[in-house]
Symmetry: C2
Subunit: 486 residues, 2 copies
């Protein structure tokens, strides 16, 4: 039997799909967008149903006490140029499920993906995991139906768990929020409902090359997929691909091996866990040192005590119009568990950028990883992309005040850009928030020596840290999911 890593690899190398050809996907996807009528409208807070501002705290909460609520935090830190501030934040203490159902057909792993509407989505419908369920969803607080396929994740008999870990979400917007990222391979029959389709990992990776198709929830789950198959350990670069073909226990005629030079580098980095210039203990020690040195004190406070923010009829916003605003929307849809509802969303005030810089070190592609402090982090510091910032915040800054590598990324020659698309944040919480996602290959003249809170890792090493919870932030994970050999 293949290891699960080899099963993932083979699926990633497969674009043949008898259920859904890659070139038919877009037609199907647009047809799903057209199949339902959705209407989203920004409304004043007073038109929110079941949501209200608590008189004693000013917090924006749901009448059930479930879902999430918006409160304030007061933050004190020794990192960065602002040492104290307060801000609104989303608090969602329940752990939800982001689950993808997988199944083998003719020995190849397929993933059941969902065309899903979320009120904050750009284009409204994006491709999502099989199941996105908060605990409120599956305990049916909103009195709607149970989300389809949820039972495969609640009763795991006849199933193999391929991926299953708790992963954090945006530390700048959520207070210590985490979701369970899970992929289950089932041997049960799986009926395919209208808004769902089976795709190989190779097809999904192809679709991530387009703007705003694969939603954030899908990207974070995909980022947890390991490729470092034990069968390939201690193998030279040139042997890797032929060995995958040889080891595959199924019809391998559709497995694509026409990698260009950079794709080969990505593939090699993804399967490299012991070839990094720093071993995992050294990386843990680096992070330990930073966690000891960095101070982050985040205290929950009532929303009404947040300073330098104010509320209008339609939004809660920063006095200088920075960062984000809390708004309210009304949603009308016909294919959700509930046909219409109202809810708050967070709307970004500026666009952002996330980018990994990569370079060859000792024959293996290394990613430049940043240790980043964010107020809502579960444990002070998480590993993040080389660059992760809201560019608008820095538009009038002198170069020396910019975050490291931002200027480099902003002025990089096009021939070094290996990936550049726009990807969306979670449309159930964020309103039309998209960030530029980039992968930039550095020349061998780029210095290996980097600032103290940066370190070089292979993709295989990053994947290994992702397994152990709370090491990589959601931006670092989702960006990585875009580089599945492309």
């Amino acid at each position: 039997m293949n290891s699960k890593e080899l099963d993932f690899l083979i699926s990633a190398l497969t674009k043949h799909n008898p259920f859904m050809k890659t070139k038919s996907f877009m037609d199907w996807f647009f047809s799903r967008q057209q199949a339902h009528k959705f209407h989203i409208e920004q409304i004043p807070f007073e038109k929110l149903e079941d949501w209200s501002f608590e008189p004693s705290t000013g917090n924006l909460t749901h009448a059930s006490g479930k879902f999430f609520f918006i409160e304030g935090i007061w933050v004190e830190t020794n990192v960065g140029r602002i040492s104290q501030w307060s801000q609104p934040i989303m608090n969602q203490p329940e752990i939800g499920i982001l689950g993808i159902l997988a199944k083998k057909f003719d020995g190849i792993l397929y993933f059941l993906m969902q065309a899903k509407m979320e009120p904050g989505n750009i284009n409204l419908v994006q491709l999502a995991p099989t199941v996105q369920a908060t605990r409120s969803n599956y305990t049916r607080v909103h009195k709607g139906g149970t989300p389809p396929y949820l039972n495969y994740f609640l009763d795991k008999s006849k199933s193999t768990i391929l991926v299953d870990s708790l992963q954090s979400e945006q530390g700048a917007r959520f207070l210590r929020k985490r979701n369970r990222n899970i992929i289950i391979e089932t041997s049960k029959e799986v009926p395919v409902l209208d808004d769902y389709c089976w795709l190989t990992l190779g097809q999904i990776h192809k679709l991530i090359q387009y703007d705003n198709i694969i939603n954030m929830d899908a990207r974070t789950v995909l980022s947890c997929i390991p490729f470092a198959a034990p069968e390939l350990q201690n193998m030279g670069v040139s042997e890797l691909l032929p060995t995958v073909k040889k080891l595959g226990t199924v019809d391998m005629s559709y497995v694509r091996c026409d990698f260009d030079e950079f794709q080969t580098k990505l593939f090699t980095s993804a399967t490299a866990t012991n070839e990094g210039i720093y071993d995992s203990d050294t990386i843990i020690s680096w992070l330990t040192e930073l966690k000891v040195y960095y101070e982050l004190n985040t205290e929950r406070i009532p929303l009404k005590f947040v300073k330098n923010w104010h509320k209008t009829d339609y939004q809660i916003l920063h006095d200088e119009g920075k960062y984000f605003a809390v708004i309210a929307v009304a949603v009308q849809a016909d294919n959700r568990e509930v046909a219409s509802w109202t809810q708050p969303l967070m709307k970004p005030q500026e666009s952002g950028i996330v980018a990994y810089l990569v370079r060859n070190i000792n024959g293996v592609l290394h990613f430049l990883v940043q240790a980043k402090v964010e107020a809502g982090n579960f444990d002070v510091v998480e590993m993040a992309p080389t660059v992760q910032c809201v560019t608008g915040n820095y538009k009038d800054e002198k170069p020396e005040n910019l975050p490291p590598f931002l200027e480099y990324v902003s002025n990089v020659p096009p021939e070094q850009v290996r990936f550049s698309t726009f990807q969306s944040e979670e449309g159930g919480r964020f309103f039309q928030e998209e960030n530029k996602n980039m992968l930039i290959e550095l020349g061998d003249d780029f210095p290996v020596k980097v600032p103290d809170n940066y370190i070089w890792m292979t993709m295989g090493q990053i994947k290994n840290f992702i397994r152990y919870n709370n090491f990589f932030n959601v931006e670092g994970r989702c960006l990585l999911s875009c580089f599945g050999f492309m």
Copy 2:
């Protein structure tokens, strides 16, 4: 060059020590106990210097705002028979250093251990890491001298970091406290002060077989030491020891290989990372499921709002005399950074027991590990010994209400007991608190199927999880440190 794991293994197999023979150690240790005059006295709270109860909260705090303070928590959980309670707790937000300095002499690793007085210690002096320093220590809040050897840990040039991770402390007594557990191998000259001595790992493991010699801080650091040398991977049991002797690049004539049958099992389990019946992804998934299911809501509250506890002149205690009491002591010593001081301590009301059950599965010794919820845990659940409880709390309980395996451990036939000693909790915070530490070998008829919150792991797997922070609680780690092949 040996891997660091092989260096640790060789030191663990070495009892020869030109600096300090094992049989001379006790004489030296008692001489250090006699060398200084210590006097500890319980005092009423009003005689505390620099410590006082804050009028608005009732919290017991130090005038500097540093060290630690005692406040209250309010706890709500769906685990166990009590679903809500409040209690006093120690809050020590700063991350301290527990550091052991190591150095090779003639190719063998030695560890610089300290005979250290702590006011709560049984016998007052126990063997401690080279350095135990809170951030208040090394920023000199108490205006004393810098702890000896601290500079080796602040300036790590000419040093190799062997172990370096953040590890939790007692979740029932501390609110999310963590310390940096670090072992550094230096190539610098190291002068040996009066209260310090070089010991091999084999010698330290021998001393742990005695009651209350090796303090908790030393045991937690020792628990982080990995033995799964890459040089020994995929090796059969019978080859392991001869291979260590063959690979050792130093004079191996003092390496002990006279293991009995059980010691051989421990050694094999410690070097086994891929031979467990569950792989690490399965273990992570098991823990993920429990973290989703278990609810733990811990809120900080003023000490004066804690219910069912009351304060006398001399202690803060539970109305039924259960759990622990907060007391105050005055200390007079001549070899500490400060010659005399007063401080609060926590005093246990009952004795406790920690025990691992182990059994052979597929030819490798597996430890039965519990997922345990404790109010002060950083992340709801941590892995813990098979049995970890205050036995006094259950003395009048019916068997069906006892924690799993407690009755088994209490009535186990002596021939199954492989280890049974008393070990102390940290004497800087706890007053004469000792727990019975046990290792019990099960027969092959003991069921492999166990309750949902238990799982079987090899010692090598446990060591691997310890590397990644916040997986194993301090009781689970410290108990493991006692089984260094014995």
